[in-house]
Symmetry: C2
Subunit: 338 residues, 2 copies
Amino acid sequence: MVTIGDVAREAGVSRSTASYALSGKRSISEPVRLRVAEVAKSLQYTPNAGARSLATSQTKVIGLLAQFLEDEFAPAMLQYILGVSNTARELGYDVLLVTEPDGTAALRRISDSRMIDGIVLLNVAEDDARLEVLRAAQQPGALVGLPKDTRGVDVFDLDFEEAGREMVEHLHRLGHRELILASQPEHVVERGGAYVWRLQNAAAAAAAARGITLHTAFAPASQPEVGTALHELLDTYPDATALLVNNEAAAAALPSVLNARGISSPRDLSVLGRYSDEFARTFSLPFSSIESAPDRLGSMAVRQLVRRIEGEIGPGDPFVTRFVAPEIVDRGSTAPPR
Amino acid sequence: MVTIGDVAREAGVSRSTASYALSGKRSISEPVRLRVAEVAKSLQYTPNAGARSLATSQTKVIGLLAQFLEDEFAPAMLQYILGVSNTARELGYDVLLVTEPDGTAALRRISDSRMIDGIVLLNVAEDDARLEVLRAAQQPGALVGLPKDTRGVDVFDLDFEEAGREMVEHLHRLGHRELILASQPEHVVERGGAYVWRLQNAAAAAAAARGITLHTAFAPASQPEVGTALHELLDTYPDATALLVNNEAAAAALPSVLNARGISSPRDLSVLGRYSDEFARTFSLPFSSIESAPDRLGSMAVRQLVRRIEGEIGPGDPFVTRFVAPEIVDRGSTAPPR
DNA sequence: CTCCGGTGTCGAACCGGTTCGATGGTGGTG
DNA sequence: CACCACCATCGAACCGGTTCGACACCGGAG
């Protein structure tokens, strides 16, 4: 293992000079600087991360807490993770991925032991137990998902209320007067996934304001139950002309459901989902959807987190809660009703 | 931040005694041991990871290199990651997830800087550039995926050859005499995904040995092209009575393809895939399949890696290449031909 | 009563970086 | 020619753990 001492000796300078030459934190004569750099390169010197973190109290690592909960659609999670990971690397940080079920214990462990400079929480619930631990931690935190209490953390989420409104208004403009909204399972809501309500309530309010009918239902997140549930919904409300889907599993199951019923979109039924474009492409979902922008949200969270870590904004600066505006990606599955 | 010095002072002992009391590496009188433990707890002492790694040359972190390549089915990757992450935690390790495209640079970075004790490589290609770096690294490495040259690393993979044989033999036993095998895109093979060939060649050999016909084809990994390709395959070989699918995207697209053709499995066509049970459940795939066991493979790789890290087996002990035996999960999609 | 061995504790050194204060040498100015 | 300022460099201390060798104290054996 080659240390900065080896580099210094080889270059004929002191350790401190070698350090300054490499970091540029003090002025060093050009010839010395070049020689040190050259030696460092030829010896393949790489600073020891542990030693550096001990000396600087910086690890250049971000903790990423992802929960894989029952009834949550796992493949969607991957896109948030990639958004975080790729942006972190771009900003010079590595990512410590923690998936253990007990998020509070995990958070305490990596925070107290100073393994990380900051923390990103995915899958944040309305009343998330991890938040208390996060607020007590020394490191700043950023969330993807909106909790009830946003004090002390930066928050990023899709604007689910605007999404709900937008979905209803879009179909209303096309002339639809009776809609169905298939949400995540009630289980998800009970666990604190308030985004389900946020979208649903806003959609209901928008429908009421326009005097149109919106039937809402929780649909299972697992196959094949969700297919059955969709069939039942369509049977129950035969006059509905459009289906809103806030449930990835339901969206994935929908093509075969429509097929089985011998109907097609948008001819017989307008369909509007809420998922990412990546998701749509992977599973060939031909439905227009509100873009859930997981990569963008993960990326935003990391950028803000790094700004706090690096002191560009301090603990004095106000914490932000920023919503990504929903945008409809048109895949041609909505049209005026027959 | 509370250090071991604080604990020692509070307990009225020296730093070294406090350290020994907590680690148990030397005999310490019971009362002192208890007092130190108590103080540590009341002060919420947690060792500084950087300092500890500097002193012990151990980080208790495993590096996980995952590549997200074009034409590779991303959701499948998540299951390997979870297998690694969960097992690592179980064994007391955290996971540094690296997704950057340039795997060799990433590997060098985290290895040389001593951020990690060992390395797991996912998505290993026949001739993987990362292997050279890994062999030169100080830390042991474990692979998921079989490269040409396995020297110096422990390797875990599904036995794709046996899988190919097994698929053909299973259908032969049922009486099928003309089969189609839809593989991953040729692109994946060219990049070094030899597992495609391993399965395909073994399947072809088994078919030849039994004197039955096997049509093979590369199918796209993206939607909706893969659906089109499947239609073409079924059109081209109208007498084939069974379809083997070594391509997740194709498997996901198959239900709507069958639906569109008005045929069902296993009545009109026996179908046998190669993917994980988790995958099947998530996407409601009603097809029997060879279990690809991503969680198990990830878990095995980590266990072996930790054994090497902790010196249970040394660099002298032989490196293993271990194959998981393919097992068919029967979901009722294979039957004798009509 | 002395000597010996073992047990429990302590001080100091070390891991590999960064950073502060001090110092020697240089050039420019009065 | 003396003085000052500044630049480049060095030595030492520090971050927070672990671990080695030394040593004090104790009980038991001779």
